[in-house]
């Protein structure tokens, strides 16, 4: 799953770096706040541990072998944020020092394995382990499934990154300039290997390690016990705000989608030959009616959107139009919720006065 240099376009590499950077910043800030002077030695040694685990060639059922990433076990023992940093550092050393994984694709590799892998692994494990005791067999099952899911989701993201390359980056003759396979080939090819073998390696190492730690070092599993999780519960919504801002910035990704969304056609699209062709393609070659349906035509004039197609008339850049629409839309939703909560508070205080 380590993407070498040359598989992804410079634009994709830049986007993945841009997505990974805030995650690294947040992760490092959290780890530093919790560990202070322990940050450097703990992360350094744990990164070295992650690196060594990635070198383990595990025997798998069926007689084959596979490499694990070890991201789930790192997230279970250290928490998702420290695991994110430790696995990223291990990946950097692999890329620079051992040539495993590219340098331009380092952001993508970290996004897939360190960021998505540790978050999915940690959330799945805590969700399935629930309130079970530290020695419960359920925790072994939870870790195994979390490892399997984490690595498969990371693989899916990798396949998506591969699959969009020929869609977006081909030369004038139609030769793909980077990873050559479309999503229809990249996703099944990548997932076949991970659902069968690579996922199993992560399943074995995550489940096996939790079973081992239950017997010999149960204290290392303390971070994910119910009482510890209750203490770690988030006290502020800052991360949610940051996530919302990130999604707003990512909203122009919608521009990459080709064609039109099925069923989201305007009355004028039925008269436009190019739009009719897109409707035909999206409807498995079932020809659309020759004119817009009467009901659609009548109702379409009832309300004219102030920002049609997420493109304000005064804005020349489509991407900024999307971001502005996202900011405006989120602002309206937040305003509506603020008004509702204010009304609710007013009603509650009025009820108290009446009593």
């Amino acid at each position: 799953m380590h993407i070498p240099d040359g598989y992804l376009s410079p634009a994709t590499c830049a986007v993945t770096y841009a997505l990974a950077l805030p995650c690294w910043y947040l992760a490092f800030a959290r780890v530093k706040r919790l560990l202070h002077t322990r940050t450097v030695p703990l992360l350094a040694v744990f990164s070295a541990f992650s690196f060594v685990i990635m070198m383990f060639n595990l025997p798998l059922p069926g007689g084959t072998t596979g490499h694990a990433v070890g991201v789930t076990i790192a997230a279970i023992v250290l928490g998702p944020w420290a695991a994110m940093v430790a696995v990223s550092i291990a990946l950097l050393i692999q890329a620079v020092f051992f040539g495993d994984g590219g340098i331009t694709t380092f952001g993508a590799n970290c996004l897939n394995m360190a960021v998505v892998g540790s978050l999915v692994g940690y959330w799945t494990y805590t969700l399935i382990a629930g309130k079970s005791s530290v020695s419960a067999a359920r925790r072994v099952f939870a870790a195994a499934l979390a490892g399997y899911l984490a690595i498969n989701l990371a693989a899916l993201l990798t396949a998506f990154e591969f699959g969009i390359q020929p869609m977006l980056f081909s030369d004038a003759n139609g030769s793909p300039l980077y990873a050559p396979y479309p999503l229809s080939v990249a996703v099944p090819a990548m997932m076949l290997g991970h659902i069968t073998f690579a996922g199993l390696a992560e399943l074995v190492i995550s489940g096996g390690l939790v079973a081992y730690l239950q017997r010999s070092h149960p204290e290392l599993l303390g971070r994910t016990l119910p009482e510890a999780l209750a203490e770690q519960a988030p006290r502020s919504a800052r991360s949610l705000w940051l996530g919302l801002a990130g999604l707003m910035i990512l909203s122009p990704l919608g521009l990459l989608a080709a064609g039109t969304a099925w069923g989201e056609w305007g009355a004028e699209d039925f008269a436009n030959p190019a739009a009719r062709q897109e409707i035909l393609q999206a409807s498995a070659n079932v020809a659309p009616p020759s004119a817009a349906p009467q009901g659609l035509e009548r109702l379409s004039s009832v309300w004219q959107a102030p920002i049609p197609d997420y493109a304000p008339s005064f804005m020349h850049s489509a991407s900024f139009g999307y971001i502005l629409s996202a900011v405006f839309g989120c602002g309206l939703i937040l305003l509506a919720f603020l008004l509702i909560s204010k009304l609710q508070r007013a009603k509650t205080s009025a009820d108290r006065h009446e009593r």
Partner: protein, 271 residues
């Protein structure tokens, strides 16, 4: 079978360590790349790797590969070493991925495959050449950097790119403890192997691997506590200072200018 598994793992770990030690020895040899300021070398290598990814011309990519070969020759880096460490591995991995593209990428047919219904297309051939060429050339530049620069110098050079000092310190320590843990793992498997009297079944091998990983994990955490206490006792309070003794000469600036000109020219040519 079980010996085979433990032996293979030990061999892999030992190979990684010996490669790292050999890289350190090569970086001390006199040579063109070895004589450059590590900061300039790091930026130049990054610029050349970015150039490999930026270019839309196979001719330009071939030129960059030839440049990598010339740099290796001028730096006394053996071709056999590049062949075993980079080219063969990339050829096997990327070659396996690129091969089906010859047929799967639609386009102008060049050659009908005998006994099969598929045909090799011009576009498929070009895209496979791009994938393989980019992967081989950029990996060669990355390995040239490591084979001509001691790791502590690479780390200090990272500071010149604005990498936070704390991250540089973690990377330095990770590199150091990596070998401690690799050594411990090799010993662990050697000890287990020397006590085996019969072949182990698959499930037993998996248990052994999980237990070895568990022992390593607890050793790692213990080691991090020891290192932390050692750092505290030597006055560490969360602030890191690195010594920076590099000197840049006019020749280094010339090399940097040339290296940065490559991606700039590619961008200008492709605009």
């Amino acid at each position: 079978m079980s010996q085979h598994f433990a032996e293979k793992l030990s061999r892999g770990l030992l190979q990684a360590m010996s490669r790292a030690f050999a890289a350190e020895a090569l970086s001390e040899r006199p040579g063109f790349l070895q004589g450059l300021d590590p900061r300039i070398k790091l930026i130049a290598c990054l610029a050349l790797i970015v150039s490999c990814v930026l270019t839309h011309s196979l001719l330009m990519l071939s030129g960059l590969f030839v440049l990598a070969l010339l740099l290796a020759l001028a730096s006394q880096i053996p071709m056999a070493r590049l062949c075993t460490q980079v080219w063969l591995g990339v050829l096997l991995f990327t070659g396996a991925i690129a091969l089906p593209a010859l047929v799967l990428v639609p386009g102008e047919a060049l050659w009908q495959l005998p006994l099969l219904h598929g045909q090799i297309t011009r576009q498929g051939l070009r895209s496979a050449a791009f994938l393989l060429g980019r992967a081989e050339t950029s990996a060669t530049f990355a390995v040239l950097l490591i084979l001509s620069t001691p790791w502590p110098h690479v780390l200090k050079a990272m500071r010149s790119l604005g990498v936070p000092v704390v991250l540089v310190a973690i990377l330095g320590m990770t590199h150091r403890y990596l070998f401690v843990l690799l050594h411990a793992t090799t010993q662990l498997f050697e000890a287990r192997r020397s006590r085996l009297v019969a072949a182990m079944k698959g499930a037993q091998q998996r248990r052994l691997a999980a237990a070895a990983a568990g022992v390593l994990l607890s050793k790692s955490l213990q080691l991090s506590t020891d290192v932390h206490l050692a750092m505290i006792s030597r006055g560490y309070r969360g602030e890191i200072h690195l010594l920076d003794e590099f000197h840049t000469r006019p020749r280094d600036w010339g090399i940097l200018l040339c290296a940065l000109a490559v991606p700039a020219l590619i961008l200008w040519y492709q605009r």
